[in-house]
């Protein structure tokens, strides 16, 4: 029987996630030969909205660019405004910002790991990972009052202080969380079902990862030690000890292992924040807004987030532009999916931890 090449549409909904993106797969039998994607279904014009709001109001807006990386957006946005205004934030605020960021990172990585188990058909593991994630969700709800958008950052520092009692609570929750994440690491490292479905799948060789400029766990899963927290240190990261995790496998399994190992590093960072938390104020006033331009970037759970701002002396920015990690990682799918089978598309897609709504803004 001859094998013919044909184009297969996939999406725009329910390809691994409940966000719309439309794939055009060129397939030969079951094998994928080429991938093209169409996006734009949920373009919200958020950058234009940001240019009609004040600098202060944009903290709230940018926190809604993405759900899992929400804190990274208000964090980086605040940093870019602080760079434009030449504003130094208090020491305590630096630690509080890092603490919130790492709590969000743990929750984000666990969510992506859970979805991978779900796509692989391992439903009990999916529910188990989501149950472990509830420990982190409880921390967010108890400390910040929200399970998703923490509303912690503001220009000049953070909005609310975290009391010593809450710091103790966080430490106790980490004691519950850590052994459970160790167990998850062992499951994903040794379980036959997960290894069969993910190891060697969705290969992104290091040279391709470098050429495409991918970021976050996608880059680190291809052996590239790229992490803004270490390369351009900000907030309290220069004072804290952590490792940049890399894996050499360049496959879906490597990216999962990067995320699970990074959870350990995040727990280490949160503990250091609780231990070393300096006393003092948590916020400073903004001061006069100059005519200026500034850039800031940070390491969100999915990778580097970049912000650029132009101020014109008023409290409304003349331009606010941001680039999310998924924006850099989509194109890598064309490399990862070549040679994969149609049934593996969802697993490969999930391995870049895609976010459609933040890509399209």
């Amino acid at each position: 029987m001859s094998i013919s090449t044909y184009t297969m549409p996939l999406g725009p909904v329910h390809v691994a996630l409940e966000e719309p993106v439309y794939f055009h797969l060129t397939v030969e039998g079951e094998d994928i030969k080429n991938v093209e994607l169409t996006s734009g279904h949920v373009h919200r014009g958020m950058e234009r909205m940001a240019m009609q709001r004040t600098l202060v109001k944009n903290v709230t807006l940018t926190e809604r660019v993405c759900s899992l990386c929400s804190n990274s957006h208000s964090f980086t946005y605040s940093m870019v405004v602080e760079n434009a205004l030449n504003l130094a934030i208090p020491e305590r605020a630096k630690y509080l910002r890092v603490m919130a960021e790492e709590i969000k990172r743990v929750a984000s990585h666990l969510f992506n790991t859970a979805i991978q188990a779900h796509i692989a058909g391992f439903k009990s593991l999916f529910m188990h990972v989501m149950e472990v994630r509830e420990v982190v969700q409880d921390i967010k709800e108890t400390v910040y009052g929200n399970r998703m958008n923490l509303a912690s950052n503001c220009i000049g520092g953070v909005k609310c202080d975290v009391t010593n009692e809450l710091l103790d609570y966080i430490m106790k929750q980490l004691e519950v969380l850590e052994p459970q994440t160790d167990e998850l690491y062992d499951i994903f490292q040794t379980n036959h079902i997960m290894l069969t479905r993910t190891k060697g799948l969705g290969l992104l060789p290091t040279e391709d990862a470098l050429a495409l400029g991918v970021v976050g766990p996608v880059a680190r899963g291809s052996g590239i030690a790229r992490d803004v927290r270490r390369d351009s240190p900000y907030a309290a990261y220069p004072d804290l000890e952590f490792d940049v995790i890399t894996e050499p496998g360049c496959c879906v399994h490597s990216r999962t292992m990067v995320r699970l190992r990074e959870i350990k590093e995040s727990i280490k960072l949160i503990r250091q924040c609780c231990d070393k938390m300096p006393e003092g104020p948590v916020c400073v006033h903004m001061g006069k807004i100059p005519v200026n331009e500034a850039f800031a970037h940070s390491e969100a759970p999915r990778g580097e987030v970049s912000y650029y701002i132009r101020t014109n002396g008023t409290d409304i920015p003349s331009r606010l532009k941001w680039r999310v990690p998924s924006y850099m990682n989509w194109k890598a799918l064309s490399v990862m999916m070549k040679g994969a089978q149609i049934a593996e598309v969802a697993l490969v897609l999930n391995s870049i931890d895609p976010c459609v709504s933040c890509t399209e803004r």
């Binding site: 996006s39 734009g40 373009h43 014009g45 234009r48 940093m79 602080e82 760079n83 504003l87 130094a88 934030i89 050429a211 495409l212 400029g213 803004v228 390369d231 351009s232 240190p233 900000y234 907030a235 220069p238 331009e293 500034a294 850039f295 800031a296 970037h297 580097e304 970049s306 650029y308 132009r310 014109n312 003349s318 331009r319 532009k321 941001w322 680039r323 924006y327 850099m328 989509w330 194109k331 399209e360």
Partner: protein, 178 residues
């Protein structure tokens, strides 16, 4: 004590040569000691040479920001290319005007410039030459480039859906067909 801003001296010299004068260059640092170097290139065409130079220093394209230059007052567009070299950011600005209305694509040098350039073509109506795949990124092909920058009255945008206009239009189209 003079502050030393992080950066690669040879790269800074090479990029400075593409600027018209010293006023087109500035060096800044944030409160964490991270360096930011800003270059305003003489013409948009210099971005191609700058990209090749940056490629030689193993730079990574972090972002391209397109914006309308408010100071010019004539709606001209500017582009700021942000490159990362070992954690230091190099920002290269080019301005488009009637003399230099187009900018060359740097996608051949930096593959991840592809989406950025396609986005600025459709949302800011910026003309990019030699892009290897200049199709639409977010907007449908039927829509004009730069459409989102135009002010559309609410009544037009809603297509008369909140009034009797919609039904009158449907009925008139139906009558015409008959």
């Amino acid at each position: 004590m003079q502050e030393v801003i992080k950066g690669h001296p040879q790269l800074i010299d090479a990029l400075a040569r593409l600027c018209p004068n010293e006023n087109a260059i500035k060096h800044t640092a944030d409160h964490y000691g991270n360096g930011y170097h800003w270059f305003r290139l003489a013409t948009p065409h210099n971005i191609k040479e700058a990209a090749k130079t940056l490629k030689g220093f193993r730079a990574r394209l972090a972002m391209i920001s397109a914006y309308t230059n408010e100071e010019s007052g004539d709606g001209t567009k500017e582009l700021c290319y942000h490159f990362d070299v070992d954690g230091t950011i190099y920002n290269l600005t080019v301005g488009q005007n009637q003399e230099w209305p187009i900018v060359p694509s740097i996608t051949p040098e930096f593959a991840n410039a592809d989406w950025h350039e396609r986005e600025m073509m459709e949302l800011y109506s910026i003309k990019v030459t030699d892009h290897p795949d200049p199709k639409r990124l977010f907007l449908d092909e039927k829509l004009d480039a730069g459409l989102l920058a135009t002010a559309v009255p609410l009544s037009v945008m809603m297509n008369g859906a909140s009034s009797k206009d919609l039904w009158e239009r449907i009925l008139s189209e139906k009558e015409q067909k008959q």
